[in-house]
Symmetry: C2
Subunit: 362 residues, 2 copies
DNA sequence: CTGAAAGCGCTTACAG
DNA sequence: CTGAAAGCGCTTACAG
């Protein structure tokens, strides 16, 4: 290796000069004694004489040559940048990061790199991010949509960008989408509580502006209706945007003259609030709880926490499949993938209503 | 808006033709009746006659023009792509995704977009990702290093890429780095157990190839030494790479003829294994437990789980500051930022050793 | 301030 | 198979 900075040990103690120019194909061509075209062909694996190819690769190695992917994209016919953008509510929430990983596992096989960012559920910020990504000419975009109008994406899609929505359907635009069976999952969770004897089941829900929150509430109502249990708004609390709000709501329900014997929590943070309300009231062994979304340590609680689990990594993989199939030229009708949930019974769902005895088949 | 596909409602029911060419500066120039240079200047906010600028922006709006950032980078003097790459062990682990978010919060203010990917602690895969990122000409790279040699990054750094290591120091290259005070944090956690009377404290550790694991073990030994407690390898288990392995190791310790009265778990998954071992043995109210890294629901356990918490978002922000200061031209000596931990006492650390009574100052 | 021209690093018809 | 030339979308000296 050549020593660029004049030091002999190769380990300069400061960061060193920032001037070193990156070698280009032209440099490789000069060193290998061939034309630029030949270097390009050798690098891209097109038919080239074996001798010349060897000289190119040797020169390339010697110089530490790395092809500039952006320049290549600019000139190439297919125009693919081999990068995709992911827009989440928040990259740091467990759902997002698991979707991200699922996506990455598929993308990696294609040499596609992944941008990821957070909209914080702010439509303006989502749009800003999308435009920044389009400026970088991403081949596709995965969006957990915030806001009421995604028509602004239409133009880019017409320019060939593959767009897939995840977790919530888009509005004002048709596109491929991957969803969880929110209504079905919730109905299964609530049905589980009904099966062990509960008739008065409280519901704690997320912000009703969210599609998922509404679908889950529907599942709750459907499960009640299927068992001829009347829907009672008195035990339903919505718009719980934080675990603190959820905790307060759960406490209210427990203090009702006719309190629920079981609770269904419609989301992660809501579940955490409910757990802490039950513990605060010393009611965790008396009032059953089932939550939507699994949590770390859920099985270490006493009693264990029964949940309706999604598979976010599978969502990410499914979104990737839809996206890449479009990039591969699939031009069929719009597709909607709905992934099933899984009920993980860990105990509290098993708490029967007070006064009942061994109710198995209600 | 012009209807490109011939439908009149603007909402085609299929994805539609993928042929629409994206408008370029040339198109904008033609529509505005000015030269390409003027469009470029107007778009970039350089001095341009107000009238012409207005015409350019109007034409730009009409066409839905979006500057091609890659083409711009290619020609610009500074060569900045306004994108940075993050390489984690796994984007989906909570530590990584919180670092990611912290980084994003700083990067966003600069209009910088973030690639993120997983190495799975495989050095080859890390290097592959790094090269893919360099091909996209990222301005900087944040790496949670896997593997024993990061000399391969030197060349890119000499070409001007800012590189910052996170969580673990790099080997075979000097670079800016952000670490957590692993030894100090562990010593504080173990010291907490000693302060409430424990003398026989078991240690459950991650794979010793990891720098963090070794630093934490050192902290454990230092805390023991500071209180003249002999280090007993019989109650130390290392190489616990999963919660299952940790659970098994904790069970072994509990079955020792002279079992520990308290455990320190050196990492997330290790803590989860320890929690489940204690519960399995019905020992959770008898044997104290402190873990490194906070966990969701840790305060909902019975008893609550005391932890030594890191601040991964702060790590991400600190890494971003280091990285951007280099890009801004800072050319000083290498910097190492060590972030403090925080002891969150929630109960189990408070369990005194059996037979002792109200030991406050041991 | 404005425009014509050169050129960033690459790919790809086009002749040989 | 090989090379000279044109050009992807943009920025930036260079003259005016």
């Amino acid at each position: 290796m050549e020593t660029l900075s004049g030091s002999t040990d190769g380990t300069p103690s400061t960061v060193g000069p920032r001037v070193a120019r990156r070698p280009t194909m032209k440099d490789v061509a000069a060193l290998a004694g061939v034309s630029l075209s030949t270097v390009s062909r050798a690098v891209n694996g097109t038919a080239v004489d074996a001798d010349l190819a060897a000289r190119v690769h040797e020169a390339s190695r010697l110089l530490g040559y790395r092809r500039d992917h952006a320049a290549s994209t600019l000139r190439r016919a297919d125009r693919h940048s081999a990068s995709v953008g992911l827009i989440f509510d928040d990259v740091s929430n467990p759902f997002s990061s698991a979707v991200h990983r699922g996506f990455e596992d598929v993308a990696r096989g294609r040499g596609v790199l992944t941008f990821a960012g957070s909209s914080d559920q702010d439509p303006e910020r989502e749009q800003e991010m999308a435009h920044a990504l389009f400026s970088r000419r991403v081949d596709g975009l995965i969006v957990v949509p915030a806001g009421p109008d995604h028509g602004y994406l239409r133009r880019e899609r017409e320019a060939g960008v593959a767009i897939v929505f995840v977790d919530r359907p888009p509005s004002a635009i048709d596109a491929d989408v991957v969803l969880t069976d929110n209504a079905g999952g919730t109905a299964a969770g609530v049905g589980h509580l009904i099966a062990i004897g509960h008739r008065r089941i409280g519901y704690l829900g997320d912000r009703s502006a969210l599609h998922t929150a509404m679908a889950r509430l529907e599942g709750y109502r459907a499960a009640l209706a299927a068992h001829a249990i009347a829907y009672d708004p008195a035990v339903v609390r919505l718009e719980l945007g934080s675990s603190a709000a959820s905790r307060a709501a759960a406490e209210e329900l427990l203090e009702l003259p006719d309190p629920p014997t079981a609770l269904f929590a419609g989301q992660n943070l809501v579940t955490i609030g409910a757990v802490s309300a039950l513990r605060g009231a010393g009611a965790q062994h008396r009032v059953a709880l089932v939550g939507f979304d699994d949590l770390i340590l859920a099985d270490a609680l006493e009693p264990g926490l029964t949940v309706v689990a999604q598979d976010p990594a599978a969502i990410g993989r499914a979104a990737a499949e839809l996206l890449f199939s479009r990039l591969d030229g699939h031009d069929g009708a719009l597709r909607q993938v709905v992934l099933p949930t899984r009920l993980i019974a860990r105990g509290p769902g098993e708490i029967p209503p007070a006064g009942s005895s061994s109710v198995r088949a209600a």
